[in-house]
Symmetry: C2
Subunit: 433 residues, 2 copies
């Protein structure tokens, strides 16, 4: 048994610096928990000369990945460099040299998780990635250990802090999307190019990771239906409030009758649902299990030190496994075959807002169409429109299939009394149905 | 290595039945995860003839604890009988015969946790008790594994479903304490004798368990200051709303400068705090870590199947440890010495409601008193009282010490302009301070 474990870092950015600081500040606790200390031996960086706010010997830094990956003293590689292909190659190389890997790289795990897990298993190495979803919130370990004996039926997540911040500002301050985005960028919650966040892609990656773990099945990124937040009208926030909803970008993953569905979309969610209280840059994942019922994991979705705690919980899990001689089991082995749910097997409630000609029989025509489609309503709201001789009609359906709802939208567009379908969103109740 | 693990149950009540059902329904998943099945071999019951809704061979039941504790095939004892002394003796006996123990018994762990943990360690046996706090919510594993690399600074919990249900009804429906309690009893959320719940004792037990785990230190039940919910005036809910607070029974545990404080009391909490959204019988634990920031674990605090999932997550952890040959590490070994924080080291904001003579200079007299005590205010509300020539004065202090606040209350009672101190509560902000 070793009396000190050396780790190698790939990358020394926001998360990498947090890991170095956490290891420095927590030596005493680490010795308490593990019986010995942890040190950062080598760190792969792009620029040796860059000024950094962490204490590391200059000799620890290197621009050559082999100095980290092939150092015989190093047992655990922590990949916090980001990007896909280079990181993937380094991780495969690490497994080939029998080193364990902890990564915070959601993009990589979403795209190549199963391949990397296979490589880890073949080499009896650990691969952990708690930091890849919801930053410091221990959701992956919650799913893989805490709820291990249950059948997870559904996972709903607010898993992107940038969009949650923007939607919170639009909701609470009544500002436009553009203004809220600028605010988020000024505060460092959104990047200069916010595309991956605001188009829902980042959330989709995290939902792929959550769905794989929750349902022990394989899901690919292209299986996820994604709608971002760039087209949300401020109007819809007002109607949401009138109807006791709030708007959130919700990642939705469901397993039923061997069918899997995973999607990310702006969603009307009841103000009484615990996810409605998740504000600003915070993340939360709401899990429905057959036996346990509803649980929720809430926490910071990003941040240097918060994410570093998730990385370090993985590093400690690896080291404990090393002491026990039981590495190589990972979070999950996909073992259940799931088919993608077709639209007639996707169930939900939906909100739709229509611009309608303000004339006798208009509402009857619309009602008749939904009646033919076998769709009924939980709520109906008609208000005069600011447009001449038009009215706004807002409908919230009872549970129906996505297929029927999408067909209804097409038919509505073709009705002469309907000027336009202004918007439509998925709807979630208070979580107690 | 075994190809089947036998467990022995002590008790076959609400939680015990849930465990039997969960094992029955999850054999396939258990085989998937562990490589073999789990069976319930013997069950200690009080009455062999009682009708039960679980499928067990009549020969599995016994009224003799030795049939369970000394069965050589049984590796894991699941204690779900409740009570203190009998359960304690059985668990000590189980360790003496080298059997691992999983218990849902919060009363026992709060009172005798350290003794039982010592016995487990001496015998290299596991002792797990995830189900003892917040039912199905995997909070103990979250603290012990997920946040392992962090220093936990504070834990706030809504850890009693009965009182949370009662307070939710009082808040939302404006009904009295007595009426809400009756409602809870009718729905099975409160027992016929609700004392342990409504006086805060049950919450205190859970906070002891959480505090031990969060701070790796030893806390005894008598160290907890406890106030129940029986004296809450409906009035205070109205004032809470006016000031954007809601009332919750909050278990509060804090570690700072080697000082520990643990308390349970009705608390005004900002409507923007995530705990404010925890309603009805639900539980949640809000954790502040030095590095991670704020995280929250939410879920059902009770229920047969929900609690059974927590028990089974422990059973599976025990079995994995058995396969790995690494039992006997438990959740925690207390390792930090903490002194109880004296009242001048306990900091908080406080709400106080006074009945004051409606005369010139009354408010100035009160202000001067607080000024002398070096206590300043975040909010002040004065409204006419229904009582003749009196006014109600409501104050929310800035952060001060419990000592100063308690002294001020005594001094206020002695002021001639103050008719009475009607109520006072601890106050929590929105969690973003």
């Amino acid at each position: 048994m070793k009396n000190n474990v050396s780790i190698g870092l790939l990358g020394l950015g926001v998360v990498g610096s947090g890991v170095v600081k956490l290891i420095e500040n927590r030596q005493e606790e680490l010795v308490n928990q593990l019986g010995f200390g942890v040190n950062v031996k080598r760190v792969l960086v792009r620029d040796l000369e860059k000024e950094r706010d962490v204490q590391l010997a200059q000799t620890a830094l290197t621009t050559d990945p082999n100095d980290v990956l092939h150092d015989p003293d190093i047992d655990v590689i922590v990949e916090v460099m980001g990007g896909i292909e280079e990181a993937r190659q380094h991780i495969l190389e690490a497994f080939a040299t029998k080193k364990h890997v902890v990564t915070a790289n959601k993009d990589l795990i979403a795209l190549h998780g199963p391949e990397l897990q296979d490589a880890a298993n073949r080499n009896q190495c650990d691969l952990f990635y708690e930091a890849s979803v919801a930053g410091g919130t221990p959701i992956l370990r919650g799913l893989s250990d805490g709820l291990i004996s249950d059948r997870i039926q559904q996972v709903m997540g607010i898993v992107n802090g940038t969009t949650n911040y923007i939607l919170t500002k639009m909701d609470e301050d009544g500002v436009t999307y553009e203004s809220a985005l600028k605010d988020a960028q000024d505060l460092g919650f959104a990047e200069a190019d916010p595309t991956a966040d605001v188009e829902g892609l980042d959330a989709a990656r995290k939902m792929v990771i959550l769905a794989r773990l929750a349902f022990s099945t394989n899901i690919e990124l292209e299986d996820v239906e994604v709608t971002g937040i760039t087209n949300i009208a401020l109007n819809d926030f007002e109607y949401a409030k009138k109807l006791d909803y709030t708007m959130k970008l919700i990642g939705f993953a469901k397993y039923h009758d061997q069918h899997v569905e995973v999607s990310v979309q702006p969603t009307f969610i009841s103000v009484n649902h615990p996810l409605a209280a998740v504000k600003n840059e915070y993340n939360a994942v709401f899990v429905d299990g057959e036996a346990v019922g509803s649980t929720m994991f809430y926490g910071p979705g990003a941040g240097s030190m918060a994410t570093a705690t998730a990385v370090m919980s993985d590093v400690i899990a690896v080291i404990k496994n090393m002491q026990l001689g039981v590495n190589g089991k990972g979070f999950v082995k996909p073992c259940v075959d799931g088919k993608l749910a077709p639209p007639d097997q996707r169930f939900g409630q939906y909100y739709i807002r229509l611009n309608v000609k303000d004339e006798v029989g208009a509402f009857a025509t619309i009602s008749e169409l939904f009646n033919q489609m076998d769709i009924s309503f939980e709520r109906i709201l008609q208000i005069p429109s600011s447009k001449y001789e038009q009215a706004e009609v807002i409908l919230v359906t009872h549970k129906t299939t996505l297929k029927k709802f999408e067909e209804s939208k097409v038919k509505l567009e073709n009705l002469s009394v309907v000027e336009s379908v202004e918007s439509s969103y998925r709807v979630e109740g208070d979580g107690n149905e």
